[in-house]
């Protein structure tokens, strides 16, 4: 809680900066618009204005600066505009009972969330299985670990269109599956690394103690290694879920998806509606925040139940 005041003041400063930036970013569009409305603008004609700096334009047309704060298609919308658009496409629609309409961000967020969770589930399982293999088998460690690292240096987006082509050719229905593959690809790595660390966290003396108890390999795995890895697991799950969301949105961007938050960004770009892009971006940010917070709460709860304070 002692971070609350600094965080709020930094956020406030960012908001002020944003508001200040709106004026120079939008001045050209605003002047074009008022000129079409019949007002006189110095200098006349948008071609003439192209070579004049925005600061000079703002000084010479100070009466029209405020138009830039209420444009329909701004280059940079104000925070208030983004907030209104966000509310219009989520809360307001939900209150009218149209939360699942195709224009509602709740619907698109749900599509993205589904793929994210599938990818998260897939990636986490892969990561945990891989980590167990690496901890217990020397061959697996020597052959898998370098490739796991290399796999993360490959820009997955380059593969995204290919994954979609291949999966549609193989007759897999829907766009959810390729998106889940991409998000699993991004999300398995932090889980793998965290779990390898976690499963190796017990000290030699603890492992030796179990040996003196004549514990089998499975018993020492279930009673020592697995519980010891839980704090590591949760930390990497939080990184993993954020990566999975990034993966889903990356999977939606270049592939002509029609639903999902990434698709809203794509469609907003194609139809020239910046407000749609910005509201989808913020919806994605809110979704990421909610997912990470949820995992954080689960972590605290689980660790408290297990007697390990987070």
């Amino acid at each position: 809680m002692r971070n609350l005041l600094p965080v709020l003041s930094v956020l406030g400063a960012l908001l002020v900066l944003w508001y200040l930036a709106v004026a120079p970013m939008n001045i050209r569009v605003a002047l074009d618009q008022v000129e079409r409305g019949g007002a006189t603008v110095i200098p006349e004609g948008s071609v003439e204005r192209r070579d004049v700096s925005v600061w000079r334009l703002m000084a010479q047309n100070s009466a029209h600066v405020k138009t830039g704060y209420a444009l329909d298609r701004p280059r940079l919308p104000t925070p208030a505009q983004v907030g209104q658009e966000l509310w219009k496409t989520t809360g307001a629609m939900a209150m009218k009972g149209r939360a699942w309409s195709k224009r509602s961000l709740i619907y698109h967020g749900w599509i993205t969330l589904q793929s994210t969770l599938w990818g998260f589930f897939l990636g986490t399982s892969l990561g945990i299985i891989g980590a167990i293999a690496i901890v217990y088998s020397r061959v697996a460690e020597m052959s898998l670990m370098p490739w796991a690292i290399i796999s993360q240096t490959i820009p997955i987006v380059a593969l995204a269109p290919m994954i979609i082509v291949v999966s549609s050719q193989m007759g897999v229905d829907g766009r959810g599956f390729p998106k889940a593959i991409i998000s699993a690809y991004l999300c398995y790595f932090p889980v793998l690394v965290g779990m390898v660390k976690g499963l190796r966290a017990p000290e030699v003396s603890q492992l030796d103690l179990l040996k003196t108890y004549d514990a089998t390999g499975l018993q020492s795995f279930l009673k020592l290694r697995l519980p010891a890895s839980v704090p590591y697991l949760f930390t990497s799950l939080k990184v993993g879920i954020a990566a999975a969301l990034v993966g889903t949105i990356v999977g939606e961007l270049p592939t002509g998806a029609i639903s999902g938050l990434g698709a809203r960004i794509l469609i907003g770009d194609q139809f020239g509606t910046p407000l749609a892009i910005w509201s989808a971006l913020f919806a994605a940010a809110i979704l990421a925040g909610m997912l990470v917070t949820l995992l954080d709460l689960t972590q605290r709860l689980a660790l408290r139940r297990m007697g390990m304070q987070a």
């Binding site: 002692r2 971070n3 005041l5 600094p6 965080v7 709020l8 003041s9 930094v10 956020l11 960012l14 280059r75 020397r138 061959v139 020597m142 052959s143 898998l144 670990m145 370098p146 490739w147 290399i150 993360q152 240096t153 490959i154 820009p155 997955i156 987006v157 380059a158 593969l159 269109p161 290919m162 082509v165 291949v166 050719q169 193989m170 990184v239 954020a242 969301l245 990034v246 949105i249 990356v250 961007l253 270049p254 938050l261 990434g262 960004i265 794509l266 907003g268 770009d269 910046p274 892009i277 910005w278 989808a280 971006l281 994605a284 940010a285 990421a288 925040g289 990470v292």
Partner: protein, 281 residues
């Protein structure tokens, strides 16, 4: 079918060899440490080749690696043009600008404990966001050429590097800082001789994360509009015109560049942070 069978036999043989190597008394030598993963990678390629040939998978869906290699060799001129456009102009410039901006910001923030406490949680939050989504906005602001790609890369790499640098600058112990004070060291001297060197492992951690992000950003931004060259451009048009072998050649370039980029940063890290426990031994 014989191709598939041969691939499976190769897989079995390579797996057995790997098991033998990993459990042999040479398993800690440098050569074996290199051979085992390479053999694993080659096995994957052979399996891919065998499955594609054995099951007669159409070239339009998945070309065999041998064909990708041929295309790669035949179209090095195109690949080079795309490499210059995407990597050298877009990703690298964005990476350098983003790193410098984040580094300077971190040093500035670090002077104020209040700002540090305010910015760390926000920076951590931003680093977890799907920032690639700003790509269309940047293309709209900065035009189709490399400037917009560099801008996306700057935004993407900024937060991971910022957060890591700020954390790194706080990594010194009170005892070490006190020692500097007893020496009568100025702020700059403490920064240059104690806190920056101590922050290096953290900074390089951020840089390593940023290498992949830089390539992702530059490629995604090209999906939203680019001049008629660039890796992202070639991939998206290649998928449309079914020249899948060229797309895979581009993917191979992306993989090579990503690995090399990471390798270079890791190599520099080894030189700079030779004193750190993780680099010794």
């Amino acid at each position: 079918m014989s191709a598939l069978f041969a691939a499976l036999v190769f897989w079995g043989a390579a797996w057995a060899l790997n098991i033998w190597l990993a459990n042999s008394r040479f398993s800690t030598t440098r050569v074996v440490r290199l051979v085992v993963p390479v053999l694993f990678g080659v096995t994957l390629l052979v399996l891919w080749e065998g499955i594609v040939r054995g099951l007669n998978v159409s070239v339009v869906i998945l070309p065999p690696p041998s064909m990708v290699a041929q295309t790669f060799a035949a179209s090095t001129d195109i690949l080079w043009i795309d490499f210059v456009q995407t990597v050298l102009k877009g990703a690298l410039r964005g990476f350098i600008i983003g790193f410098l901006a984040a580094f300077i910001c971190a040093i500035a923030i670090d002077r104020s404990a209040f700002l540090t406490r305010g910015l760390l949680p926000i920076g951590n939050f931003f680093a977890a966001l799907p920032i690639v989504g700003v790509a269309p906005i940047m293309v709209n602001w900065f035009g189709f050429d490399w400037q917009s790609k560099a801008a996306v890369v700057v935004v993407m790499v900024f937060f991971p590097i910022l957060v890591n640098t700020v954390q790194g600058l706080r990594a010194t112990e009170a005892m070490q800082r006190d020692l500097m004070r007893t020496y009568g060291a100025t702020y700059t001297q403490t920064l240059m001789k104690l806190r920056l060197p101590a922050a290096m492992p953290f900074i390089f951690n951020g840089l390593k994360i940023a290498t992949t992000l830089a390539l992702i950003g530059a490629i995604v931004a090209e999906y939203f509009g680019s001049p008629t060259r660039g890796m992202g451009f070639r991939i998206s048009t290649g998928v449309g015109s079914l020249s899948i072998d060229l797309v895979w050649a581009e993917i191979a370039v992306a993989a090579l560049v990503g690995t090399t980029f990471y390798g270079i940063i890791a190599w520099i890290e080894k030189r700079v942070t030779f004193w750190h426990p993780s680099q010794r031994g």
